[in-house]
Subunit: 278 residues, 4 copies
């Protein structure tokens, strides 16, 4: 009995395996989550659902019970770790962030029978929260190193990113205010207030440019042109900061690795180790 | 009495506190400015204002008097510093750039009763100048280091940024001229003159692309396609320059910090200090 | 006879020439491929084809037989290399990836007489596969070094690029779901399901913004605005990673070249060699 | 007499002054060119021209004769340099690229009386060639260092930029072909041939997205979505290459300058000189 629990624990707990390689069960669960998310996405399209209504109901039942079973198996096998042994240990496990995410992701399926099927569309969409479980399962491996590096780059330059975002926000308010003053009499529907003009400002400064609203007056077009030209710089700034942060983080990681190797095999070898960076 | 003035000065003057941490009063004032700006923005939307007309009038009165009080308190407590003591010192303080910005931001509220309420929309918008006060209040701390670094990066490459901006401007004139020649007979409204075609050129080269104007003739489409393809490079150039400037500035700052530490604890330690960069 | 085969082999086989410079025949073939691709592209436009119908038929016949002849000449002259000598050697050559690409690119021309001319448009388009032959011919020279460097940069950061792409995909699903919930009752045609809303999400997050679909409700516009603003960061992230990867790869290549030179002429010269990087 | 010619030469010839600072005459001429270009641009707009018809005629006459006078003054004063002395020397000067650009820029004004005023719009636009004269005048100073650095960055990575541009071109052909196959029956006007679909492909891959043409079928939208998502990477690639090139060029320039200083004041000072980079 203990041996089975140990085997299940070894398959399910990400930190159970040495070297943090991903177990077969966790790999399979990631695939199952992605397939179930794709099923939920496709199910919302009437022309697809009407083509195979039973398929989607079956898939939903299958994945729902699979994830419920998985949750219970994780809860049970968590007892393999000293800190989660016993009933109180299980409660402690159930309150860890990862276990809470697992529980939240499984709730919509369990509550589905009690929700009115007509108004329930918004509710069914909650099943997409399963997406976040992929992140909790992919906590190890090279993928996570990449994620950590991107995250490290963002944190390292958080003040610069925040400052450039604030400049962008101020620019957005100024742009919306300018167009509001210039166009509010001509196009009250689109520029009749600063919040309305903000929709135009966002579409312009992100260079999306739907074209549903744009200035009609000459002065409005001149102001909009100036705003669009400044927008290039604003869009470029966070990109530049992020690029610079990632580049620095990567080079330092490589340099540190090179130094660590140099420290292991010292002396005249150090130069050769530095070549190992390339 | 003097003790109260000292306490207020300590709370209001950004340079009063050692280590340049932000006082509670200044933190609260930044929040108040942001809330009052949000109120002005939302007030312009008729559907929101009509929902709670008294709320916006009350908020405006509250923030107006708050900022007037703050201005007077700053003027009074400035006397704590030797250079601003006495009546002449206060006048000298009132003429500093920061104090002038504070005064300008408070003016629209004080003049509001004398402005005709019907034509006054543009006037009310002046209250948004309060936004600039946030910058004068956030003059210290890590945020400002980030701002200075971005600014340093821009100044360091000012000639390259100016050159690439000029190339972009020349490109814009050339693009507008080409489309003016190609399309002026077919679409006189949109391409009947170079300034009119400039509206299209800006929308295209910034990749906003509203879609209100676009070439109709084959030759116009070919020229527009070539302009759009070149536009990628133009948009990329300032971004590339800025990214490169920020990266260089950051690495040099880190390297200098590393060297400063190495200079403090010299000798064989220097290598370990260099690892401190990571 | 053998001498002619050797001459043809020297002209056709990219690896036949020392220093991997490109032979006259291969240069001419690249031009021929580009011209024939341009002919296929232009031929699809009725107004151009009707202007010179015989020209396109003649061009197609000319290039078709040229590439068939080239394929046979490559097959025959491959015998110059020991491993492809004899009939079995030729079969071995015909199964190399490059030879298979050559064969596939020549097939549409050979099969054309057997395809119904009315429904054959999609078939004719297959002739554009000739484009890929350019890549197999441009396997050497500085162009390829550049390609390899870009490729190396992408591979080196594959996990970061994959991670940021996955974040972008998750963002796209979240964005489409949000707008589906907000707008599905108002615009069932455009936002009636998550896959439909995905069309809007892609157009917005890539900042293309055709403007055929956009939110109509206030809540939809607010959500769309937030999505568009986040989209800047997503678009910036792979660009930043790629820029950082290319920069690192390039600097390391230069540094390695500098070290190699330093290794050749050692001692106090090393510093001067380092200047050789510039 | 000779003294006057020397003074004019000192004012006009960019290479006449030590340290290559810009003379007053050349600064004034750059301003004159920019004003005359602005006048030509504004003159094309009927609502502006009809407001002050005499102003534009007067401006054009003034700038026209100014630039003719300048050209003659340059030709005459070029005799101060040995290689351009005498009649044959003047001819040699007149055939230098800079003098030819000056001549070409002045021609439209001289030929204007002989051109039919009704059909002459395209001809008048040629006066905008004066824009290029700004580049010949701004050949020195920090501006030119920036231009040279950008140019150096582009040349240094020319193969990578060419390769990524070719990939973008191939992507464009593939995208246009895919949409042509998917949409040609539904929207023959917009996707009836590959060249027509190319207009859509350019608008999409540059993320301009006018919205005048977009796929209507489901398969077309899926293909267009995939093309738009790949387009992000394509747009990012040249930007990344350029950013990386500029960063490298700049750092090397700084490092070289630091080394040059270190070479001048050698020994234990070198480290302090390196700090001088920051």
């Amino acid at each position: 009995m203990d041996s089975l629990r140990y085997q299940i624990w070894r398959q399910l707990d990400i930190e159970a395996r040495p070297g943090h390689t991903m177990s077969f069960a966790n790999r399979a669960l990631i695939v199952a989550i992605l397939v179930s998310v794709a099923a939920v996405v496709l199910e919302t399209e009437p022309t697809i659902r009407s083509g195979a209504p039973m398929l989607f109901i079956t898939l939903e039942q299958f994945f729902g019970w699979l994830f419920v079973t998985e949750y219970l198996a994780r809860l049970w096998s968590a007892g393999e770790r000293k800190e989660y042994a016993g009933l109180i240990g299980r409660c402690r496990y159930a309150l860890t962030p990862v276990a809470l995410i697992d529980l939240v992701a499984v709730t919509p399926f369990l509550l589905a029978p009690f929700v009115d099927s007509v108004d329930g569309t918004a509710f069914y969409v909650l099943r997409l929260m399963r997406l976040f479980r992929v992140l909790t399962l992919a906590r190890t491996g090279p993928f996570t190193t990449a994620a950590r590096q991107i995250w490290h780059g963002i944190v390292d330059r958080r003040y610069e990113l925040a400052f450039s975002s604030l400049i962008a926000l101020a620019m957005m308010i100024v742009a919306a205010t300018l167009l509001y003053v210039a166009e509010r009499d001509v196009q009250p529907e689109a520029f009749g207030s600063i919040p309305r003009a903000m929709w135009w400002a966002i579409a312009t400064l992100t260079t999306v440019g739907y074209g549903d609203v744009y200035p009609a007056t000459t002065i409005g077009k001149i102001l909009a042109g100036l705003v669009a030209l400044s927008g290039i710089g604003l869009v470029a700034m966070p990109a530049g900061i992020l690029a610079s942060a990632l580049s620095t983080a990567y080079q330092e990681r490589k340099a540190r690795r090179g130094r660590d190797e140099a420290a292991a095999g010292p002396g005249p070898e150090s130069e050769r180790h530095q070549s190992g960076l390339d």
